[in-house]
Symmetry: C2
Subunit: 230 residues, 2 copies
């Protein structure tokens, strides 16, 4: 009976984290929509959304803390709760990234719209797709699916590197476009960070399911990518 109630609490915790993940993914999609359309009202949505995400992060941390305090979770449940705490922190930072992108879009308002050598929407859909896939792996407890997210990170890194190269070349050849190019470069960088957070989430899923820690290229776990901060 107690055990059943504990299982129910774990399910509630998982449910809450999935709502949090949906909010984080939506925040990125909205920020990129704001970039595409230069619609400042969408930036406002992103900023309000970030506050909601921050509230959710605290609630989820508290739920996890209460579960650890109330019960003596068995190894697998304990690892699940710790994974939730770590995933929760990464999702909150995805919200921060969305909000940083929204700041960049506001800054872009002051300058004429120009065609830039970077496909921000494509990078965004790749990064958001990684978040979605990592969370799907979390729902299914599927370590293989989580592992496939790790390899996707390299693509986003490459796109960010080429954005850095092409945008800095543009700044040199057309200095008058520096503000637009710089903002686009920062947005690309934020999307690379979103991909890093998705990678962290995938690693935490594997840690939970397999008890294997694949962070930082631990070979036997086959991690193919390591998040890197900028």
């Amino acid at each position: 009976m107690v055990r059943l109630r504990f299982q129910q609490s774990l399910d509630d915790l998982k449910e809450r984290l999935l709502v949090m993940a949906g909010m984080a993914e939506q925040a990125i999609q909205r920020a990129i929509e704001a970039y595409r359309t230069r619609d400042m009202s969408i930036c406002d949505l992103v900023d309000h959304g970030e506050q909601a995400i921050n509230r959710f992060e605290r609630e989820i941390d508290q739920m996890a803390l209460d579960l650890l305090a109330m019960e003596q979770p068995m190894a697998i449940d304990l690892r699940f709760i710790l994974a939730v705490i770590k995933i929760n922190a990464d999702l909150e930072r995805v919200g921060d990234a969305a909000s940083s992108i929204s700041d960049r879009v506001r800054d872009l308002q002051a300058f004429p719209v120009v065609d830039l050598p970077v496909d921000i929407p494509r990078m965004a859909s790749l990064a958001a797709g990684m978040v979605r896939k990592a969370l799907h792996a979390f729902i299914e407890g599927d370590a293989e699916l989580a592992r496939s997210v790790l390899s996707m990170d390299d693509n986003v890194d490459r796109l960010n590197d080429s954005a850095y190269f092409s945008l800095s070349s543009l700044m040199k050849s057309q200095p008058e476009l520096t503000p637009q190019a710089l903002n686009a470069m920062m947005i690309a960088r934020n999307l690379e960070r979103v991909a890093d957070h998705a990678t962290n989430v995938a690693e935490d899923v594997i840690f939970w399911v397999r008890g294997a820690d694949v962070r930082h290229h631990v070979p036997q776990a086959g991690g193919s990518s390591t998040p890197a901060a900028d």
Copy 2:
């Protein structure tokens, strides 16, 4: 007796985290020394150091997990262990930031050294000082000291904003200096992230000591600053 052993394990965990913090702080100082001197051998030190930091992160997580699994920690001990897990993750990301700075320094090698309108060493000593102060607050369990770290974050944010402004102006007026200016801008941004991580650590110390969650401007806790990702 069991209780004594548990207390000893908590002390070991704290000790280990302090070593980790020292490594993270040293990584930043080395990366900035490499920037100042353009000494690539220091970049190598930073990269080796990052691998050691990553190993430490895993060991500390495992120690924390084992403590949670072996014992039923009381509320304050439980919060302490969760704070260690969160601080551990932030320190690892400080190491990532140092490594990103080191990458920028390597990139700078290809270009002549020029005088840039940004005081990187000053930003670095402020950011590293925040990490040191946050860890001191952790050692002492001093929530007031931790709170003083939160207010320091605004200074680093301001320095980063002014670096962005002055360096982008430079790129427009002297496009031939774009590579140097861009790398300096990215280094400043990484230092701002280090300050954000120090802020996270300070918040976790307060969470542990007071049980108050001051993240995201929860007013009653008087948090004056919120980490923001870029």
